[in-house]
């Protein structure tokens, strides 16, 4: 047993709401897997409640939500509202991915989104950002 091997970061990737486009999130899943992370994918059309329940059970380090529907503001607002109702704050950092106008970025960060990875983010950047957030969360 080599105990010096770094333990894998656990990431959940979620699709919430009426958004049937998951080609991007599947590519991200493979990018993160190939960067040595363990990725739990929820599948399409989940509700914020379902995603949060799964993320708490899996005790992930990072929760990535992919949105291409334009409904990112109400969905993230709802998600953080639900997080506020949890008996204890979860460890994971929340990352928004997909298509979101630049002018919404500040508002998203204000409600608690840790990072926003737009559709033009290079794969290496995605892996680096998620790893950095994951390492910090794993220490919590």
């Amino acid at each position: 047993m080599d105990i010096s091997v770094e333990e894998p970061i656990r990431v959940m990737l979620a699709k919430i709401g009426l958004d049937g486009h998951d080609r991007g999130v599947k590519v991200v899943a493979r990018v993160l897997r190939d960067a040595g992370m363990e990725v739990i994918y929820t599948g399409l059309h989940r509700s914020p409640e379902q995603v949060l329940e799964a993320a708490v059970q899996e005790d992930v380090d990072v929760l990535g939500v992919s949105l291409l529907s334009g409904a990112h503001m109400p969905i993230f607002t709802k998600l953080f509202e639900l997080i506020g109702q949890l008996p204890e704050a979860p460890r994971f950092a929340i990352v928004a991915g997909g298509v979101m106008p630049d002018e919404d970025e500040l508002a998203l960060r204000e409600i608690g989104v840790a990072e926003i990875l737009g559709q033009d983010t290079p794969p290496e950047t995605v892996a680096d950002v998620v790893r950095k957030l994951g390492v910090a969360a794993a220490a919590r």
Binding site: M1, I3, G36, E38, E49, A54, V56, Q57, E58, D59
Partner: protein, 314 residues
């Protein structure tokens, strides 16, 4: 009852965040994990532990979802441990079993956890067995371990289940035999899933033939072959009944006690191996001293090993 740690107490009380946290601690082998498991171990033994295995695409996750819903309808709480393979090259993994289990969302009586195999060196065995301990102590009535069952470690883990179900599907032909070779001996129940497909009867017949040819040390339990169509729920209730029948047989025949002792022995050996692997490696001060002493002919390897092992667990 002796005092237990606050986290263990919260796990036993069934608090969800504590349960999720405890599973992370055992998987990551964080400090204090052995103390936590020691506290929890005394609270185990109440759960019915099922192992479900079979080749990729045989419908295990869907079947586990159906079984879980069936147990919930019968008023029993369920913990699911879904195992998926890690990449040998990068150590990463995509854990996709939850995709099939969405129907179980929103029920506080169901707890699902995904685990990656993380290489072949016993990592899975410990993580999965310790996860069973945590879920058992948390009071889950039924614990279902779902795995592809490839490799010795996974077979060892499956052996820890009270009842092991091996899932096949029609149309795999001779492949079925190849895949089943290592698993046939530990199957307590065979499931032919996707039984609405052509060839289900042929698969059942093939399994029956194989069972006739397999020498089994256990007598008194005729391994049944159940047909299910997990996607529609057909046969799932009957399968749950079969698991309960097997559980009852384990109790009355004494085989349950035999398996529990064998499992306890395996777990003691794994822990001992972990202590040895951790303590006896280059870089550990006593180990390096012993290496120098053996090279210098001041002691012999066996004597050095005796002293090191004795010093491992004061």
């Amino acid at each position: 009852m002796t005092a237990i740690s606050p986290l263990a107490e919260r796990v036993v009380a069934g608090e969800l965040p504590a349960l999720a946290r405890a599973l992370t601690l055992v998987e990551r082998r964080r400090d204090g994990v052995n103390e936590l498991l020691a506290d929890l171990h005394r609270r185990t033994g109440g759960a019915q532990v099922l192992g479900v295995t079979g080749p990729p695409g045989s419908g295990k996750s869907t079947l586990v979802t159906g079984l879980t819903a069936e147990y919930r309808a019968r008023g029993r709480t369920v913990g699911v441990i879904a195992v998926d393979p890690s990449s040998i090259l990068t150590g990463g993994a995509i854990l996709g079993d939850r995709i099939r289990m969405t129907g179980l969302a929103g029920d506080p009586g169901v707890f699902i956890r995904s685990i990656a195999t993380r290489g072949a060196l016993g990592g899975l065995s410990r993580a999965a067995l310790d996860a069973i301990t945590v879920l058992d102590a948390a009071g889950k009535d039924v614990i279902v371990l779902e795995t592809v069952g490839v490799g010795q470690a996974e077979v060892d883990v499956l052996a820890a289940a009270q009842t092991v179900a091996v899932v096949s599907v029609p149309g795999m032909g001779d492949d079925v035999q190849a895949i089943k070779a290592g698993l046939l001996e530990i199957a307590d129940v065979h499931v032919v899933n996707k039984a609405d497909r052509d060839g289900a009867h042929k698969t059942v017949a093939e399994l029956r033939e194989m069972l006739k040819m397999t020498p089994r040390t256990v007598v008194g339990w005729n391994v049944p072959i159940r047909q299910t169509t997990a996607a529609t729920g057909d046969g799932v209730a009957r399968l749950a009944d079969t698991f309960d029948e097997h559980r009852a047989w384990l109790d009355t025949s004494g085989e349950g006690g035999v398996r529990e002792r064998r499992n306890a022995g395996t777990r003691i050996r794994w822990m001992a191996e972990e202590f040895v692997m951790r303590g006896l490696r280059p870089g550990a001060p006593d180990f390096d001293t012993a290496v120098a002493a053996v090279v210098g002919r001041r002691t012999d390897p066996a004597q050095a090993a005796r002293e090191l092992v004795r010093a491992l667990c004061p």
